[in-house]
Every structure is written in structure tokens, then in C-alpha cells.
Symmetry: C2
Subunit: 356 residues, 2 copies
């Protein structure tokens, strides 16, 4: 398939003949974030939950959030990463049975429809499409593709997203730093920087953060933090200071400790809001549901374990919450979402299936 | 005087002959902020404190903060606004006895020296120069040019600046929104927007702010606030929502009320930090000092009066604090600073002076 773009003819894929597998069908799972986009190819074959999902190929490209790079560039990135994954898997586009595209910036039905429209241009009409926000891929990565429960993502930003088995969904946070995502990596680090300034100008207590943050940034005075902060508007650059805050808290610094405790409350409150709105905890508040934890702020690699504290805080209100740390990446989660749908359809068409 | 710039010859001033006043001497006072720069011309003549300072001419130009527009543009703006003020006053450059330049972005001795160097290029060696941060002009506008006491500025941003009679100075806040200027107009409005989002996603209580903010911005759902917020990075655009917050607090909304109470605590804490560090309150904590209040957040034009609450909060700790609302603009404050110095010098040279 060749498509005209910017005056050039661009190959959607190298035209590869049908693979030796003959009728083998594929699923494409995409996770599109603000830093990169990942696409995986998965075969439509059954596997047991004890095994990792089979992945034939994986391709990586840049940002595909249309709010960040514009619609044309976002679409090109998505097409390119799908073409590359198919090429690597040695299969042709005609082998694709379903595509699950989970991209950040997809928040409204209009965003979904736009992507669905151009997917229809690329694939034949019998291909199933799923277009979702990237939080959905993160949830699915912890539930092996099943859309039920809540996911909490905390990296540079933070968001809580939840789904019920009957298809209702809700979110909390994810509105960016101006609009109060205080549990995010950016929020934690911005509070730490603020504490250094407050200590320096006499509004706040002394803190180990002053020495640690200045050392990390190779600055000589808190004065210089102002220039450093506004020299580059990237949120991720500020969020990189989270490990410094954790180290200070581990070393017994009260200010750093309070910042992390506040972040824990904020993250837990996002999850609680979603669980309440969807009634995931059931009428008695004790129903079981998975809470998928994603993002480096929640990674359990430190003595001061933010993720564990968040879980403890939520468990007090919802004893049926089952924390899950995903074993696969979000792109595989997206593929599993489509895989579940396709397998279910197959089971309906072939009522007796021997999975072993 | 003609100066070469960008290949053109540029007039620093139209060459006007000495005025009819003959030997009359002038002072230039400049207040350079991030939105505009104002220059006033004041004669070196005595006047009593019951009268307004005499101002011969006033000129307005754009931003002269070198951090915002670069050094060359900042310098051109400052030269241009001085030339225009002199032209309007009908006086020549040779009449200038002193210049006080108070510009935002002047934070370090290196910033001061750079400006002093090019002022020396323009004026003769007997002209006195004062180069300060723009907070100094605001302080001087409330103390009739005397550098003593504290100034609290709260508009889009906020800063507290203080001076002792023996020349020590200190500041608090003024580090911008990322670094916790929560008492600023931006800080108040960002908290209000956050409260709308928190209420909408279930993390916070219901608030009248939702309806009022959406109405003000002509949006139909809190969802749309995310797009609105990040569509334009201007802090002033967000700070414009302060009157909406005040209206909701006046109408009895608890969330809006709490936001304003928090801002009051933050603003008071900046002033208290400066007063403590400089010892403006004396050893017994009761010494008298002026607190100059500047900026639209502190203007006493509403029933919920942020400025009055700040004053009440500070007065509890420092009963000798005398709140001052300036009767002249900061550019006149800058001129008065230089005027005080010149008059003092004159008095020293002419010990007996009859001011009436």
C-alpha cells in the first residue's frame, strides 16, 4: 500500500508476501505516550496465564500525542511504528485481525472517531479497532487485557483511571501541574524546590533538600534555582529530582518526608475518587477489584516506598483492593485487550475449545 | 548625542537648547516591569509632604526586564523612555542631575553593574545613578523615597522586599509559580481552577467556583479547563480570575474562602520572614516600620479585603507595623529616592535652608 504524503509516495509497509504460517492472524497493540510510542505484534493464539503473552515483534517511535505534535505528525508516527512492527514480525498488513491503539491525548469521542476514521483507510473492514487513552493500556497490562478495576499511573504526571465490567469509566487527576496533580513526580519535585526557596528566604524550616538539590543540579545557591527552573519548561526535567527527595526522606529529613506523605495522600485520593464514583468496591465497600500500579514514582525500589504507602492508605478504605504490578508493558496490555475480544468471539463461534 | 545601533544613527534625544529655567536640574525615575516601563521627570526643588511631588513629564514604553526581552532590547527600551520623558519635559539631557532605574530582573550586583556601565555612556560623570530591583521603586513610592521598611507586592506574582536604615536588604517569595508564590494572583487563581477539577473528579467538595469560573471563561465543562489552561502559558491570564474567587468567597463559598485565607497566610509569611531577618521590628518586636502594600490583589476595593486581612495578620506579630498605601506610582517612588539623595547633599553643602 502506497500513500501520498507531503508530495512523496510513502510506503505504509514493505509488501511482504503472506508468511509461511498461512492464515495466521495478528494483533497490534500500541501504547502512545508523550515521550515515545511502542507497538507490539501478537499472534491470535491461546496461552495460559502462567506464561508471558507471545510477542512476535516490537517497534519504538517518538511522541504520538496529537496535543503535543499535531495531528499529522501523530498519525505519521503511529503508521510508521505499526509498519515497522509488521515488518519485524515478517507478516503483511492483511494478517492483522485487530488493532488496539492506546494514545495519550485521546480524551473525547471526537479524538477517538478521528483515529478510527484513518485506521479504516489503512486496514480492511473486517479488522477490529479499539481506540483508547493510554491509561487503558496501563490498566490492561496489569489485568491481562480485561477492562475492570483501576489503574494509578504516577511518573512525571499522574492519573487514576477506572472501569467497570459493564463498561462505565471514570478518571481523577491527570490535569497537569497547574491544575493540582500533586502526587506526580513533577508535583513532588516542585514541592521540594519550593521548600528549598522557603528555607532560604526564612519562610520555612531548614531542610537537607537544600544541600542535596543544589548538589544534584550543580548550583551554588538557592537563588540560582529560579533561573534553573524557568530556563526550560519541561516537566520531566523537574520530576527527575524525585530520587533526591526520597533519599532525603530516607535520611530522616522531616520536610522531604512530609512532601512524600502528602504525595501519598494525593495519589490515594485520586484512586478513592474513581473507586467511589464507579462503585468498584461494591455496596458493602468490600468487593474485590484490581489496582494496577504503573510509573517510576510507584516503583518499589526504595526503603521509602511511595507505592506501598499508597496501597496501605487505599486498603484502609477498600479491603477488597488487590494491588497489581504489571509483568508486561502497556503496549502488550493494549494487545491483550484486543486479544481478549478476538478470543471471546472465537469461543462464541466455536463453543468447545480445548486450550491444552 | 547620536549613537550608532544596528547600523542606524539613533537620536538619544532631540537636541533641545537649555530651557527657560536656565540652570534647573532634573531627576529621572524609572519603573521597569514585565509589562511596561514608566519614566518620570522631576525637578530638584523642595516640596512639603502635604503636596504631591512635582512631575514635569511621564513616558511609557514596553518591557525592560532583560530576562524577558534580552539585554539589547531592554537597554533600548530604557534609553527610549528616558529620551521621550526628557523631550516631553522640554529639557535637555544635560539638565539631568540623578537617575534612579528600578527594573525587574535586577537581582545580582552583575545586573546592576551592567546597567551602571551603559548609564555612564549616556550621561556625564557628575550625574548620580541608582540601579535597583523594581520592588525598590514600589517601597519608595510609599515612603516618599526613603529606603526603610518593607514592601509587599501582590499582582500576578508576589514578592516581599525590605530595607534597613543602615542599608541591609532582604526578600522573600518572588520565585514564580513553580516555586511556590501561593499568595500571588496566579497562585490564588490556580488554586481555584484546581478546586474546580477536584470537585468534578470527586476529590474535592462542591464549590460555587465551578459555575463562576466556567461562566467567566465561557466554557461548558470542567474538562475543558485543561485545554484552556495549557493553551496559553501567560501567568497574567490565569491571575485575571482572582475577582471571581473573591466574589465566590463574598457569596459564602467555603472553598473560595479557604483559598483566600491561605493566600493571606502566605503573603503575611513573606513579610514576616523579611521583617525577622532584618530585625525591622526592633529587639522588643514593637519598633515602628512602614509596610508598603502594592498590587491589585491587595487593593481595598472589595468586601473580602485581602490586603486588610494581611495587615491584621502581620499586626498580631508586629504591632509597630504601619501599613501604607502609596499615593504615587512606583516611577515617582524611584525619582523620590534619587531626589532624597540630591536634597540631602544640597543640605549638607548649604546648612541653612528655608523650605518655605
Amino acid at each position: 500500500m502506497k500513500r501520498e504524503r507531503k508530495g512523496d509516495i510513502w510506503d505504509f509497509e514493505h509488501e511482504i508476501p503472506a508468511t509461511s504460517g498461512g492464515g495466521e492472524k495478528l494483533i497490534l497493540g500500541l501504547d502512545g505516550g508523550t515521550s515515545n510510542t511502542i507497538c507490539v505484534c501478537m499472534p491470535v493464539i491461546p496461552f495460559t496465564s502462567n506464561h508471558s503473552p507471545p510477542v512476535y515483534a516490537r517497534a519504538v517511535a517518538g511522541c504520538s500525542n496529537h496535543n503535543s505534535v499535531g495531528e499529522t505528525a501523530a498519525r505519521e508516527t503511529l503508521e510508521q511504528v505499526m509498519a515497522e512492527a509488521l515488518l519485524k514480525s515478517g507478516c503483511s498488513r492483511s494478517a492483522v485481525r485487530a488493532v488496539c491503539l492506546a494514545v495519550s491525548g485521546v480524551n473525547h469521542p471526537t479524538d477517538q472517531q478521528r483515529i478510527l476514521d484513518w485506521l479504516s483507510d489503512i486496514f480492511t473492514s473486517d479488522v477490529e479497532f479499539f481506540v483508547e487513552n493510554d491509561a487503558v493500556a496501563a490498566l490492561a497490562s496489569g489485568t491481562m487485557g480485561k477492562l475492570h478495576g483501576c489503574v494509578l499511573i504516577a511518573g512525571t504526571g499522574t492519573i487514576a483511571y477506572g472501569y467497570t465490567e459493564d463498561g462505565r469509566e471514570a478518571r481523577a487527576s491527570g490535569a497537569g501541574p497547574v491544575l493540582g496533580d500533586w502526587g506526580s513526580g513533577y508535583g513532588i519535585a516542585a514541592k521540594a524546590l519550593t521548600s528549598v526557596i522557603r528555607s532560604y528566604d526564612g519562610r520555612g524550616p531548614e531542610t537537607m533538600l537544600t544541600c542535596s538539590v543544589l548538589h544534584q543540579l550543580q548550583l551554588s545557591s538557592p537563588d540560582e534555582l529560579i533561573g534553573w527552573t524557568y530556563a526550560d519548561p519541561s516537566w520531566a526535567r523537574i520530576a527527575n529530582l524525585v530520587p533526591v527527595v526520597v533519599s532525603c526522606a530516607e535520611a530522616g529529613d522531616q520536610v522531604a518526608n512530609d512532601i512524600l506523605l502528602h504525595a501519598v495522600q494525593e495519589l490515594a485520593s485520586s484512586v478513592k475518587a474513581v473507586v467511589h464514583r464507579l462503585g468498584l468496591c461494591g455496596k458493602d465497600g468490600k468487593a474485590s477489584f484490581p489496582l494496577v500500579m504503573v510509573g517510576n514514582v510507584l516503583e518499589a525500589n526504595r526503603r521509602w516506598d511511595i507505592g506501598k504507602e499508597v496501597i496501605d492508605c487505599i486498603a484502609k478504605d477498600f479491603p477488597g483492593m488487590r494491588p497489581v504490578r504489571p509483568r508486561v508493558e502497556p503496549a502488550v496490555g493494549a494487545a491483550l485487550l484486543a486479544w481478549n475480544y478476538v478470543i471471546e468471539q472465537y469461543q462464541q463461534e466455536h463453543p468447545v475449545v480445548d486450550y491444552d
